[in-house]
Amino acid sequence: MGEIRRFLRDDSPVKVSRSLKETAFKVNRTKENLSKELGREPTIGEISSALDIPVEEIVEAMEAVQLPSSIHDTVYE
């Protein structure tokens, strides 16, 4: 069933997922551009259509590049 492994091989370790970081970078850049254009913060839907990236992926990417998940993590560690 090896032929079913039709996915683009990406053997980079999960923790440094380059594609998610790239998505997050694009999302932040688009957010800034749209903010200037619209004169307000864009919605997730507006960013999603500008980049043609599904909302689900935007959410995942933004979380993946998150710093401490709580201001408390620093205290906790």
Binding site: E41, V59, E60, M62, S69, I71, H72
Partner: protein
């Protein structure tokens, strides 16, 4: 427990998870995916995630005193007009809720005591229900803001 008229239920997810710090991130992701409506801004989503992080980290740090064997319950319900989140632990409970939610109060002198302040400033409703020796339940409600062109 108050009621908010949030309209029709669109999605509902319940989680039961171990009180390990890595699950703070998991709760954030779950809440973000259920909450992620097209007409929210990333900042609004981020605020909801911060409120959830605070409630879940309180359950781990205070409720279970960092014991990784505790069970945390998370429930996320998305309605037409808003989001309701419940975070529950069966940990040690809070003796004086009024005092606990005061800004800058912490039972631990090394902590800054702003968790409830964040929850209150980012959510439309914060309710704390706690019993010493039985546990704590925090209910967070966020009404959808009017964003975008129609906003």
């Amino acid at each position: 427990m108050s009621t908010d008229n949030l309209g029709k239920l669109e999605n509902r997810v319940q989680l039961k998870l171990l009180s390990v710090p890595e699950n703070i991130g998991l709760c954030r992701v779950v809440v973000a995916s259920v909450a992620a409506r097209k007409d929210l801004t990333l900042n609004e989503l981020e605020e909801i995630k911060v409120a959830v992080s605070e409630a879940v980290s309180n359950a781990i740090i205070h409720g279970y005193d960092n014991n990784p064997d505790g069970i945390i319950f998370l429930e996320v319900k998305r309605f037409e007009k808003g989001l309701e989140i419940l975070v529950e632990d069966k940990g040690k409970g809070i003796e004086d809720v009024e005092k606990a939610i005061e800004p800058a109060y912490s039972s631990n002198p090394e902590r800054i005591g702003l968790g409830f302040v964040f929850m209150k400033s980012f959510m439309d409703r914060v309710e704390v229900d706690s019993r010493v020796g039985e546990g704590t339940r925090v209910r967070l409600v966020k009404k959808w803001p009017a964003n975008g062109e129609e906003g």
